[in-house]
C-alpha cells in the first residue's frame, strides 16, 4: 500500500496553524523570560550567604525538579481553582507549570556555573573593596554566564518544546491546532509533520546564533 501525502488539506487550515504558532511563541516568550529570571534569582538565593534564603530555594528546586511538568500544569489548571477563589486561564496554568519547572532546572545551571568560577576571583573583588553583590554582578556572573551558555541554550530549547504540553489543557498552541486539523481532515501524519517542521525551522537558527554568540564571548579566555 502506498501512502499518498496530502499537505494541501493542511494548507487549507494555515490560518488556524498560524494562530497556534503565535500562541506557541507567546507562551514560549513568557516561560523563557520568567523561567530564566526566576531561575537566576533562585540560583543566587541557593548560593546566598543567608541561610533563610538558601533553604527555601533548595526546597523549590527539589519540588519542581522532581515532579512532572504535565502534572504541574494539570494541578494549576484543575486543582488550583478549587483551593483558590479564582480560576486561571489555560495559558496562565501552562505558563506557570513550565516556568516553575524551568526555573528549578535553570537555578541549578546558574548555581553550577557560579561555582565553577575560581575563588580567587571573589578574593580579587573583595581585595579592591567590592561588596558581595557587586562582585557577583560584575565579576562572577559575566564569566559564569559564558560557561553556562550551552546549558542555557539547551534549557531554552527544552522550554520551547515543553510548550506543547499546554495543548493538554486545550491551550490553542500549534500542536492543539494541528490536532484539530487532523481530526477534521483525518490527516494526522501531515498535520504533525508540519508542526515538527515548524519547531525545527524556528529552533535551528536560534541554536546557530547561540554558537556564534559563544564564540564571540570566548574572546579574552
Amino acid at each position: 500500500m502506498e501512502y499518498v501525502w496530502d499537505f494541501g488539506s493542511v494548507w487549507e487550515y494555515r490560518a488556524a496553524l498560524w494562530v497556534g504558532l503565535i500562541n506557541t511563541l507567546r507562551i514560549f516568550a513568557i516561560c523563557l523570560v520568567a523561567g530564566l529570571s526566576l531561575g537566576l534569582a533562585i540560583g543566587l538565593a541557593r548560593y546566598s550567604v543567608r541561610r533563610w534564603l538558601r533553604w527555601p530555594a533548595a526546597c523549590f528546586i527539589e519540588l519542581f525538579r522532581n515532579t512532572p511538568v504535565l502534572v504541574q500544569i494539570f494541578w494549576f489548571y484543575f486543582a488550583f481553582p478549587i483551593l483558590a477563589p479564582f480560576e486561571i486561564s489555560a495559558l496562565m496554568a501552562a505558563a506557570l507549570g513550565i516556568t516553575l519547572n524551568s526555573a528549578a532546572f535553570s537555578a541549578e545551571i546558574f548555581r553550577g556555573g557560579i561555582q565553577t568560577i575560581d575563588p580567587g576571583q571573589w578574593e580579587a573583588g573583595r581585595a579592591i573593596g567590592m561588596r558581595h553583590r557587586e562582585i557577583m554582578a560584575r565579576i562572577i556572573l559575566p564569566q559564569a554566564v559564558r560557561r553556562m551558555l550551552p546549558a542555557l541554550t539547551n534549557r531554552g530549547i527544552e522550554i520551547f518544546k515543553m510548550t506543547t504540553l499546554a495543548s493538554a489543557i486545550a491551550y490553542a498552541d500549534v500542536l492543539h491546532q494541528a490536532r484539530l486539523i487532523a481530526s477534521v481532515n483525518f490527516n494526522p501524519i501531515e498535520a504533525y509533520t508540519v508542526v515538527a517542521i515548524a519547531f525545527f525551522v524556528i529552533l535551528y537558527p536560534i541554536v546557530r546564533a547561540t554558537y556564534v554568540l559563544e564564540r564571540r564571548l570566548a574572546k579574552g579566555d
Binding site: 578574593e123 580579587a124 573583595r126 581585595a127 561588596r131 557587586e134 579574552g220
Partner: protein
C-alpha cells in the same frame, strides 16, 4: 615626634576548625616600612597577611588601621566585622596575590578601573587617566587594551600590582607575588615591587626570595608555628639569626648558593 603606626596588630589568632594557624601575633607597621615575611610553608605567613585585609577573618585579636580598630567587640565572643567596614579598609589596603587573579573578561584597563568605577564611583575619564598612569608605572602602558589571557605571567602580575595601586592604598600586601612565575619572569616583577618600595610606600611582603628581602626590606620577620620567631633589620635576621628555627630555615635556603 612619635608617629602613629599605619597598622597595629595585637594578639592576632586564626583557626580553621581545629587547626590553630596563628597563635598570637603582635606587630606595629610604621609608615614607609617594607617588611618581608619569611617562613616555611605552613608557618602561617600567608594567613597572617590575609588577615590584614580581612581575606581571612581573625579568630581573635585586634587590628588597628590608621588609628581605627577594625570591627566591633562583643563580650565573650570574637569581634564582628561588617561588610561595609571591611570594604572601606580594603580600599586602603591593596593586595597582590600569588595567582594574580586578574578578571579575565575585562581588558587590562578594565581590570584597573574596576575598583575606581564600581567602588569609588569615579567617572570613566578620570578612572582611565589614573589607570594609564599606573600602567605606565609598571611598564605596561601599551597593553591597556589587551585581555589578560594575552599576557605573560610577569605582565599579569604587574597589571595586578597596578590594579591594587590604582586605589591609592596606604598599605600594600604582597602574597608570594613571584611564586607562580617562571624563573625568567621573576625579576621584572621584583623590579616593579622594588620601585614601589623605593617610593616609600608601606608594604608587607610574603616571599621566598631571601635575597630580595635582604636588599629591599627594612625589616624582616621570620615566622614558624603561627608566631613571629624573630624580627629585626635584614642585616641582623638574615646574616646573624639568633633563633635556631631561623638559622635552620636560612641554612636550607642558602644550601645551593655559590
Amino acid at each position: 615626634m612619635t608617629q602613629q603606626p599605619t597598622l597595629t596588630i595585637r594578639g592576632l589568632h586564626k583557626s580553621f576548625g581545629d587547626n590553630h594557624v596563628l597563635r598570637g601575633i603582635d606587630l606595629d607597621v610604621n609608615q614607609g616600612d617594607c617588611i618581608a615575611i619569611l617562613g616555611a610553608s605552613g608557618s602561617g605567613k600567608s594567613t597572617f597577611l590575609r588577615c590584614l585585609n580581612f581575606m581571612e577573618i581573625p579568630s581573635d585579636g585586634e587590628i588597628t588601621h590608621a588609628g581605627k580598630t577594625i570591627g566591633t567587640a562583643r563580650t565573650g565572643k570574637s569581634r564582628v566585622y561588617p561588610e561595609s567596614e571591611l570594604t572601606k579598609v580594603r580600599q586602603k589596603v591593596g593586595m597582590v596575590f600569588q595567582q594574580f587573579n586578574l578578571f579575565p573578561h575585562m581588558t587590562v584597563l578594565g581590570n584597573i578601573t574596576e575598583g575606581l568605577r564600581t567602588v569609588q564611583r569615579m567617572d570613566k575619564a578620570s578612572a582611565e587617566t589614573r589607570a594609564h598612569a599606573e600602567l605606565a608605572r609598571v611598564g605596561l602602558a601599551e597593553k591597556a587594551e589587551e585581555y589578560p589571557s594575552r599576557l605573560s605571567g610577569g605582565q599579569k602580575q604587574r597589571v595586578a600590582i597596578a590594579r591594587a595601586l590604582a586605589l591609592a592604598p596606604d598599605l600594600m600586601l604582597f602574597d608570594e607575588p613571584t611564586s607562580a612565575l617562571d624563573p625568567e619572569l621573576v625579576s621584572e616583577v621584583l623590579n616593579v615591587i622594588r620601585g614601589i618600595a623605593d617610593e616609600g610606600r608601606t608594604m608587607l611582603l610574603v616571599t621566598h626570595e631571601v635575597g630580595f628581602a635582604y636588599h629591599v626590606a627594612n625589616r624582616v620577620i621570620f615566622m614558624a608555628d603561627g608566631i613571629i620567631q624573630e624580627e629585626g633589620p635584614p642585616e641582623q635576621v638574615l646574616k646573624n639569626p639568633q633563633n635556631p628555627k631561623t638559622q635552620a630555615f636560612l641554612a636550607r635556603h642558602k644550601q645551593f648558593e655559590f
